[in-house]
């Protein structure tokens, strides 16, 4: 590129920076919103660490009769001990216990059922122990006649098996450690896409785009000049969010080099997306509308806040189209799994492809507009 081109790009970048600087509302949005979002989201998802310890039993008199009484008693599960249950146990034919679960929130029902099963199991085990302890001596004498091997097997089978768990990759099992890339990605995607989408649309709306096009500015100079200030601002925002999360939530960050590459590719991809939206919209209103339509599925389906594995397979293919998906995955692979580049190379390549597609697409669309 010639020297004149650099100075032309610098002119556009400086002008774009002035626009941001002069628009106090956008400036406040840029300075206040990211830290506030980080704090709010961070604390919001801390609640996700809620353990089953809060699970409490409450004994109710025998008034619960119907299946629809959960709401009336303000409980999420009801274990009904039917009449004659004790007799059933005594007769060696236990009647099944009826368990009603609140399934409105899909996660809770499973969690509750697990807890109930565990509580029942524990109870059953302790009862069994009491029963075994109460057995007459001759039973033990009789048992001693069994071969040692069989007795040992019997003991193993009677004891519940223990697991010695060791949690890897996120040893403190803090949700905040998992969700940090989601928060960073969400905020950056929101800001870069909407602001970038508005820049060209604003010029078109104000008629300044024509004025720009009749200068000797090349299209690529306009585009690069417009992207630079937003790129710089986004980098500052990322660094700010990283500082805030590491200071306030004690989130640790590893391999800054790899994280920087991932962030940069993601940013370029988002800016390219904004540019693409900018190129297809006639007015700022349209640009904002397109941005919202693009961002909404991204937020829901990108796996920023919940593992993608919960989604059906067909939807997961859609998720793979979003840059945020690859950003979150690569970021977690580096920061939680401490993975080597071979594990996240695919995501980096896909992000790079995204950058190329969006930028080329925007250039082609702009060219069409020019003619």
């Amino acid at each position: 590129m010639k020297r004149g081109s650099f100075s032309a790009i610098a002119s556009v970048a400086y002008k774009e920076f002035l626009h941001i600087y002069r628009d106090r509302r956008v400036l406040i949005l840029l300075l206040i919103l990211p830290p506030v979002f980080t704090l709010v989201f961070g604390h919001a998802f801390e609640a996700g660490e809620m353990k089953n310890e809060t699970f409490q039993w409450r004994v109710e008199p025998a008034t619960v009769t119907g299946e629809w009484d959960l709401l009336g008693h303000a409980v999420q599960a009801a274990l009904i001990i039917p009449q004659g249950w004790n007799d059933g146990l005594a007769n060696g034919d236990p009647i099944p216990l009826r368990l009603y679960l609140d399934g409105s929130d899909t996660n809770t029902a499973d969690m509750l059922e697990g807890s109930v099963q565990k509580t029942l199991g524990d109870f059953q085990l302790s009862e069994r122990q009491v029963m075994v302890d109460a057995l007459p001596e001759d039973v033990f004498e009789l048992a001693k006649k069994l071969p040692v091997q069989v007795r040992k097997q019997f003991v193993s089978m009677m004891e519940p098996w223990k697991t010695e768990g060791k949690i890897l990759y996120n040893p403190k099992t803090r949700f905040i450690d998992y969700v940090v890339p989601g928060v960073i990605g969400l905020i950056l995607q929101l800001i870069t896409v909407t602001l970038m989408a508005c820049t060209l649309a604003r010029e078109r709306e104000a008629g300044t785009l024509y004025q720009l096009m009749v200068t000797s500015l090349r299209r690529r100079e306009i585009v690069i000049g417009k992207i630079l200030p937003y790129l710089a601002i986004s980098v500052v925002l990322i660094v700010g969010i990283i500082f805030l999360t590491s200071w306030h939530f004690q989130v640790q960050f590893h391999d800054p080099g790899a994280l920087a590459v991932i962030c940069l590719l993601f940013l370029l991809c988002s800016l390219g997306m904004g540019l693409l939206i900018s190129a297809i919209s006639r007015t700022q209103t349209q640009a904002i509308q397109f941005s919202v339509f693009f961002l909404l599925p991204v937020f829901v389906l990108s796996g920023a806040f919940a593992p993608l594995e919960q989604l059906p397979k067909a939807i997961r293919y859609v998720s793979e189209l979003f840059p945020l998906t690859h950003f979150c995955r690569a970021f977690r692979l580096v920061n939680l799994y401490r993975a080597t580049p071979q594990y996240y190379a695919e995501d980096l390549v896909l992000l790079a492809v995204g950058v190329l597609i969006t930028f080329l697409g925007a250039m082609i669309l702009l060219k069409r507009v020019e003619q």
């Binding site: 100075s7 002035l18 024509y210 004025q211 009749v214």
Partner: protein
């Protein structure tokens, strides 16, 4: 002969079946103030956009100082300044920032920018507004700023698309004085306008109608293209007379000028003779008549309405 500043050769642009500009050929010599006249939708803006390299010509070619406006558009763009019809500068940037931005965008060397900015501010009388946001300027000052921005790379050619529409007479005067200054310095000026008194100020005028160039000549020559002087009559009540006379066969058009009615008709001498003999409208009161020199308004009306009968056959 010097190379024309602008040379159009059978320039055409169609959008589907709509022919916005058809077979436009003209040459404009350097230093001319060329007034480009035509009704709304006549093809003025399309022509300017083609000249700026924003719209691709369907056929024909246009050259600015020898360079093709489409194929060499990036070269051509450094040779002209463009003042749009609509205010299209950055409102949130100050006057000075606007000029400096366009200077940077047009690759004015960084070292030269401050001096040029000062000179342009002085030229357009905006020095005191230097740090004011462009959006806070009045309409006239905005146009002056747009002119300053268009001149920042010192182009030999200036395109102005209705630069004075919506301006008060004082600013219009100021704008035109500036254009004279620029023309005096050898800059070629291509200006579209609706105002006929402005057409008089141009050194040459072109009429475009339905995408075709109808005439191109200095204003004086255009006014001389009428067969004869125009008939102006005084009749009372004037509005009713205007409506009635428009219906008379042989009268192509009637326009109201300072209380008198100016008639466009092939043989006005004969008409006056007839009317003097017998005034056919008993309800209208004949006051008198006189002969008027055609002005640019008449030229525009005659050309845009196609009153060929009042004009001499077009000279090639």
């Amino acid at each position: 002969m010097t190379e024309p500043a602008i040379l159009l050769d059978h320039l055409s642009k169609s959008y589907g079946d709509i022919h916005a500009v058809e077979e436009l050929s003209l040459a404009i010599t350097p230093g001319t103030i060329f007034g480009f006249l035509g009704a709304n939708g006549a093809g003025k803006t399309t022509t300017i956009r083609m000249l700026c390299g924003l719209v691709r010509p369907t056929s024909g070619s246009a050259k600015i100082t020898g360079a093709d406006v489409w194929r060499q558009r990036h070269i051509v763009r450094s040779k002209f300044g463009y003042v749009a019809q609509r205010f299209s500068l950055y409102r949130d940037l100050t006057v000075e920032e606007n000029i400096r931005f366009f200077g940077g965008a047009c690759r004015v060397p960084r070292g030269e920018l401050p001096a040029r900015t000062d000179r342009l501010l002085e030229l357009t009388d905006l020095t005191t507004k230097r740090h004011a946001p462009a959006g806070s300027l009045s309409g006239g000052m905005r146009q002056l700023l747009a002119l300053a921005c268009a001149l920042v790379h010192e182009p030999p050619l200036l395109f102005l698309d209705e630069p004075t529409s919506g301006l008060d007479p004082v600013h219009r005067q100021q704008m035109w004085n500036l254009l004279y200054d620029l023309s005096h310095r050898g800059i070629t000026i291509f200006v579209t306008t609706h105002y006929m008194d402005e057409a008089e100020r141009c050194t040459e005028v072109g009429f475009i109608e339905k995408g075709r160039l109808l005439a191109k000549a200095p204003p004086r020559a255009l006014k001389a293209s009428f067969h004869a002087k125009l008939l102006e009559i005084e009749v009372e009540p004037v509005m009713e007379a205007l409506v009635r006379l428009r219906e008379v066969p042989g009268i192509l058009g009637v326009s109201l000028r300072s209380g008198s009615l100016r008639l466009y008709t092939a043989d006005s001498e004969k008409l006056v003779a007839e009317w003097k003999n017998k005034w056919p409208f008993p309800e209208l009161c004949w006051v008198g008549h006189r002969w008027a020199e055609p002005d640019m308004e008449d030229v525009f009306t005659a050309y845009s309405q196609g009153y060929a009968a009042v004009l001499k056959p077009a000279q090639s």
